[in-house]
Structures are given as structure tokens and as C-alpha cells.
């Protein structure tokens, strides 16, 4: 009987259909979005530079070419400026201490990528459990966790990061990774609230779905319902939030570096390069323009990619286009 009905119901083609998973579909939709592709390529390029930068950079970020600066009458070298008797070029010029700007920008890319990864890691590690616990347990747990979230949300981010930076400046934690770890963690500690709210909202609606009921009916434990059944269904929005959270984090780091918090000399992030170049902005605008461009391009790339991902992963758009 079963074979018969099976055959009847299998009115579908007998050859194997290509199994197109949810992610394959989303990826295909992403590839149709030109801006997202441009953003994606630039993001990959940024990660590539960050990964292999030290291997291909012309000089190290701290190496000083003082002779050349002196030969240039104590002025920073302009882009492509050739100094007599020197057989190499600084493509983007140098700063007033004779440090190659391109090399410093490439090192800055490493910092930005580290911000992107570490901050989002902190955000995920705090935001997802808090949001999931609030949604799953509900009631008092939900109220307490969400009030904490509200407080963090209401507190001025920059003030918190500055206070944290000042408080831990001289400790081991403050010095780790050239002072960057402190900044990353501080940014992460102020950014997880959005993720927690997102995850809570997603899970609250998913919690009421019938497949969760079905999972309970076969005796799946609470922990596994959350990790196997609920969170995977919220992956799309989480990925989008992470991608769109990265530019915010990069910008926050640049802002902090600009006001002198975070990365310690001689290392420089894009933000501190802008700050350093700021004093020469009239005579040597390249010292500001190039790092500022780096920041702008990185932010726009991540935003384009994030927007593209949001459209691609939106279940309501499934099958369209």
C-alpha cells in the first residue's frame, strides 16, 4: 500500500532534483546584488591585506626614514615624491618622522579587521546567550535581563569606553595587544545590547512556532530546542546584524583613536593616523585623506555587504527575482 501511494505522490520528476539548500538560494540572491558584490570584494581585500600585510608591506610601520625627511627640509614626503640620492619611492608619502604611510595604513587595516572580529565575537558571546535566555525563560528572567540591557543601552558608549580605558590603562589588560584588547572589549561591552534584543525578538516569535511544539512533543531538551531549533532559524538576522555591526565598531575604534584612546604609538590605527595628520592638514593633506578614505571605504563596503545579505536572507523575498 505504501509503495503504491508513494508512487502516486511521487508525481515529481524521477531524476534527482538538485538539492538547493536555504543558503545556496540566499547566496545566489546575494550574487545578483551588484553593490553587495563590490562590498564583498572590498571586504575580502581588506581581510587579505590584514592577513598577509606584513609579508608584502614595503617597510614596517615603525621604520623611520629620517634622512629623507631631513633632505626634504624636515617636511613629510608627499606621495610619489622622489628624493635625490634615494632609489626608492614612498607611494603614499611619509609622515613627519619619515614613516611610510602605505605601510602604516596596511597595519591599520590589521587593527580594523581585529576590531571587526574581536568586537563581534564579544557581541555574539554576550548578546546571543542573554537574548536567548530572556526569550526562552521569559517572565522574571526576561525582565531582569532586558532591564540590564536597557541600562547598558542608555549609558553613553563613549563615556563608558573612556572610563574603562582610563581605569585599566596601566594594567596588564590595558597593555595587551598594544592597548587594543581593552578598546575592543570596551566596544564589545557596549555593542552587545542590540544583538541581545535582536535575538530575543527573533526567538520570541520562533518559540511559538509549531515545530518547536513538535520538538517538545518528541522530548527534545530545552537546551537543544534553543540551540538546534531556534538559533539556526535566527541565523540570517544575526549574520546581518554582525555584518552591519562591524562598520559601527570600526568607526568607534577610529573615533577613540582620534581622541587618543586605544592603540599606542608607534602603532597607528586609521583613526590615530587621521588625528596625527590633522596638524598638517593644510600643507600635507595626504596624511589625512588616505586614512580617512580607508575608513570610508571600509565602512561603505561592510554596509553594502550587510544590506545585500539582509535582502538575500529575507525569507519574504524567497523566490522573487
Amino acid at each position: 500500500m505504501t509503495e503504491q501511494t508513494g508512487a502516486i505522490e511521487a508525481g515529481l520528476p524521477l531524476e534527482r532534483r538538485k538539492s538547493s539548500g536555504l543558503w545556496t538560494d540566499a547566496f545566489r540572491r546575494l550574487l545578483r546584488n551588484r553593490l553587495a558584490i563590490i562590498g564583498g570584494i572590498l571586504v575580502i581585500f581588506l581581510f587579505f591585506i590584514a592577513a598577509v600585510g606584513p609579508l608584502i608591506t614595503p617597510w614596517t610601520y615603525y621604520e623611520q626614514h629620517t634622512d629623507e625627511v631631513i633632505a626634504n627640509r624636515n617636511r613629510p614626503l608627499a606621495p610619489m615624491q622622489q628624493i635625490e640620492g634615494v632609489d626608492h619611492l614612498h607611494y603614499l608619502g611619509t609622515d613627519e618622522l619619515g614613516r611610510d604611510l602605505l605601510s602604516r595604513l596596511m597595519d591599520g587595516a590589521r587593527i580594523s579587521v581585529m576590531v571587526a572580529l574581536v568586537v563581534q565575537f564579544v557581541v555574539l558571546v554576550i548578546g546571543i546567550p542573554v537574548g536567548a535566555a530572556a526569550a526562552w525563560f521569559g517572565g522574571r528572567t526576561d525582565s531582569i535581563l532586558m532591564r540590564i540591557t536597557d541600562v547598558v543601552y542608555a549609558y553613553p558608549d563613549l563615556l563608558f569606553i573612556i572610563l574603562l580605558g582610563v581605569a585599566f590603562k596601566e594594567t596588564f589588560f590595558g597593555r595587551a595587544m598594544d592597548g587594543l584588547l581593552l578598546v575592543f572589549v570596551a566596544i564589545g561591552l557596549t555593542s552587545w545590547v542590540t544583538m541581545a534584543r535582536l535575538v530575543r525578538g527573533q526567538l520570541l516569535s520562533l518559540k511559538e512556532t509549531e515545530f518547536v511544539e513538535a520538538a517538545k512533543a518528541i522530548g527534545v531538551s530545552d537546551r537543544k530546542i534553543v540551540t538546534r531549533h531556534l538559533l539556526p532559524n535566527a541565523t540570517g538576522p544575526i549574520i546581518v546584524a554582525v555584518t552591519l555591526g562591524i562598520p559601527a565598531a570600526i568607526l568607534a575604534e577610529a573615533t577613540l583613536a582620534f581622541i587618543g584612546i586605544g592603540v599606542q604609538a608607534p602603532r597607528a590605527s586609521w583613526g590615530s593616523l587621521v588625528a596625527d595628520g590633522n596638524s598638517y592638514v593644510r600643507s600635507f593633506p595626504h596624511l589625512v585623506i588616505f586614512p580617512a578614505m580607508c575608513i570610508a571605504v571600509a565602512l561603505i563596503s561592510f554596509t553594502f555587504l550587510g544590506d545585500g545579505l539582509r535582502d538575500a536572507l529575507d525569507p519574504k523575498l524567497k523566490g522573487k527575482q
Partner: protein
């Protein structure tokens, strides 16, 4: 098609530790643990429900969704639970596995004895052991009851891995076996497919495979065919019947379709407004119904002999508000036979001619005014 004994893991399958350790904290839990291994009967009846009451505590007051419901299910028997929307059928089923959403719902009273085990006394964790292992559940809407982000193979094997402690590959083999058992062609190829790649009927077959994954003793089918079209309905019902016969699984079939109940069940309970109003062998209830509501239900079925374009017959009025049901017979406001006594007191379920045939109506009691 042959299916190996589901109690024994497939040949050469590694039996791993159960992925959830059960903390046994109650006496009933200990007895349950002893009985998990096989499906031998341990009591007179598979399921005895006594005075089950489930209430929802809402802003508008306490809704008496299920009110002092009692019934039995024999080992291997198919019992129908029929009634209109909102009469408490589904809440009864959810109560049996203690899945009534809490808050706002709660089982406020009653006993549920499953295979001799009082499941109201089980702890949460012990209850989880019972669900899926001994009691399978088929939901109404297969479109939403499967997780869209997990392959169906995973969802079928999840139950076997949770309860039988099968390894990933052994559980996968079992899932393939079940998939072909429920009539899905090229089962092994389809294990990695996602629910959206299946039609409604196929998904309901997958749900059945999930429900039967651990060879349960009782299958709760909550309107399993409501979301499906008629031809698929018949196939799914055939499938449930043949598999329950083959495995000796008892079924509680919840439906508002009397035709389905008549075709599938030996006995039916007719529910109205949270109460059982009539119970008995299918033939007795359908041919010698002794409750005006049952007549109304039977009368409202369209017949082939009906004049074309004639209006469908309905039961006048609306089901009562279950917030404060009052003391009267709950059907009396809609009942054309109602007399004063029906409005001042509520009848008990009393015996009528026929095996186990009972009805809750003053008018059809011996000496009543309804012939």
C-alpha cells in the same frame, strides 16, 4: 519492505550514551525507566484519564477548556475524539503529554495513568523521556511543524538519538527505514532535503515517521489531515492505520470529521464545550446516538442524496463561553429538546444501550422525554 525490530538497534550499530542523562527523582520515574525498554503491557489499560481538567488563566477569567474528562484507551486501540473547534479536543491531547502552554494554561485536576504510570507525578525531565519515546504526536499542520532549517533526515533521527541512544549513523539508518516505511520514494536520497522541498502530504508522512521513530505505544494524531487535500487525506489515514496495526500502536485520533472517525476508530468520544457528551462504539454513537449534539453533528454532514444547492444543515447558535460555564447543560442553549431541568442542572454521563455507550443528556435517559 521490511523493517527491523526498532527496539533493537540495527546490525552493527554502535549504541552510544544517551545524549541527555535522565535524572530520576520520583518513584513513578523509576517505574517509567524500567518500562522504557519494551512495549509489553503493564496495566489493564494503556491509558486511563480520570477527571482531567485543564484551565487557562486569562485576563478575561478562567477558561475551563477541558472539564472533568475521563476516558480509557486499550492497548493497540484506535479511539476517536470528535467535536467542533474549541471544544477541548486539542487541549485534551496536549494535556496527555503535559504540553499545555503554561502560562496561561494548567492542568488543574485529574489523573492520567499511562501504562500504569501516573504521569502527573513525573518530573519535567522524566516527562521528556516519555514524550516521543512512548507517546508520539502528529500535528495538524505539516507545513509549520517541521523545522525549516534542518534536513528532514536529521529531524527524524533526532528522536531516535534522543531516546534510543543511537549513534548518528545508526539513527540515520533508522530514519531511512522509517522514511521508506511511510512511503517516501528514494528515502536515502531525500534524507538531506529540507522541508520546503516536500509537498504537504509528504511532510505529513515525515511527521508520521518522526512520531513513530521510537515505536511508541500511543500515537496522538491531532487533526492529522485537516491541512491536506482530500486524496492525500485518504492516503495519510491509510498510512496511520496500517502502521498502527503493524506496530500495535494505540491511536487517539482527534478530528472534527465524523467520516474519518467512523472509518478509523473502534470507539469515539464526542466532546462539547470541554466535556465528553457521548461515548461508545462507533456504530452505537453514529447509528443510535443518544445526545442531541451528536445528532446535530451527524445531521450537519452533507449527503450525496441531498438536493443540489440546498443549504447545509447547521447547529443553531454558538458554543458557550467557557469562562464561566454555569450549572446548566452546556448544550441546552442550542438544544431544541431542552426543558427546564436542562437549564438548572447538568446531566451526568449515564449508560445507554450498547457496549460502553454513555451519554450526557436528561432527555435520553430512561424515562426521558426524547424518544
Amino acid at each position: 519492505m521490511t523493517v527491523s525490530d526498532p527496539k533493537a538497534p540495527p546490525d552493527g550499530a554502535a549504541v552510544t550514551e544517551l545524549d541527555d542523562s535522565v535524572e530520576i527523582s520520583t518513584e513513578e520515574g523509576r517505574r517509567l525507566a524500567e518500562r522504557l525498554a519494551d512495549n509489553r503491557p503493564h496495566a489493564r489499560k494503556l491509558l486511563e484519564v480520570r477527571n482531567l481538567s485543564t484551565q487557562f488563566f486569562t485576563g478575561d477569567g478562567v477558561v475551563h477548556a477541558v472539564d472533568e474528562v475521563s476516558f480509557d484507551v486499550d492497548y493497540g486501540e484506535t479511539l476517536g475524539l470528535v467535536g467542533e473547534s474549541g471544544c477541548g479536543k486539542s487541549v485534551t491531547a496536549l494535556s496527555l503529554v503535559r504540553l499545555v502552554p503554561d502560562p496561561p494554561g494548567r492542568i488543574t485536576d485529574g489523573q492520567i495513568i499511562f501504562d500504569g504510570i501516573d504521569i502527573m507525578k513525573l518530573s519535567r525531565n522524566e516527562m521528556r523521556r516519555l514524550r516521543g519515546r512512548k507517546i508520539g504526536f502528529i500535528f495538524q499542520d505539516p507545513m509549520t511543524s517541521l523545522n525549516p532549517t534542518l534536513p528532514v533526515g536529521f529531524q527524524i533521527s533526532e528522536s531516535a538519538r534522543t531516546h534510543l541512544g543511537l549513534s548518528r549513523s545508526a539513527a540515520g539508518d533508522r530514519a531511512v527505514e522509517l522514511l521508506s516505511k511511510v512511503g517516501i520514494p528514494r528515502a536515502r536520497d531525500r534524507m538531506g532535503d529540507y522541508p520546503h522541498q516536500f509537498s504537504g502530504g509528504m511532510r505529513q508522512r515525515v511527521m508520521i515517521a518522526i512520531a513513530l521513530a521510537c515505536d511508541p505505544m500511543l500515537l496522538l494524531a491531532d487533526e492529522p489531515t485537516t491541512a491536506l487535500d482530500v486524496t492525500i487525506q485518504a492516503q495519510i489515514l491509510d498510512l496511520i492505520r496500517s502502521l498502527s496495526d503493524e506496530f500495535g500502536t494505540a491511536v487517539i485520533l482527534i478530528t472534527h470529521d465524523l467520516g474519518i472517525a467512523a472509518g478509523m476508530c473502534r470507539r469515539v468520544n464526542v466532546m462539547y464545550a470541554g466535556r465528553i457528551v457521548e461515548t461508545g462504539i462507533v456504530d452505537d454513537v453514529f447509528e443510535k446516538a443518544r445526545h442531541p449534539y451528536a445528532w446535530g453533528l451527524l445531521d450537519s454532514l452533507p449527503r450525496l442524496t441531498d438536493v443540489r444547492a440546498s443549504r447545509l444543515r447547521t447547529i443553531e447558535g454558538m458554543p458557550p463561553d467557557l469562562v464561566d460555564p454555569g450549572v446548566e447543560c452546556r448544550f441546552s442553549p442550542r438544544c431544541r429538546f431542552a426543558q427546564d431541568v436542562c437549564r438548572t442542572s447538568e446531566p451526568e454521563l449515564t449508560e445507554r444501550p450498547g457496549e460502553g455507550h454513555m451519554a450526557r443528556c436528561f432527555g435520553t435517559e430512561p424515562g426521558g422525554w426524547i424518544p
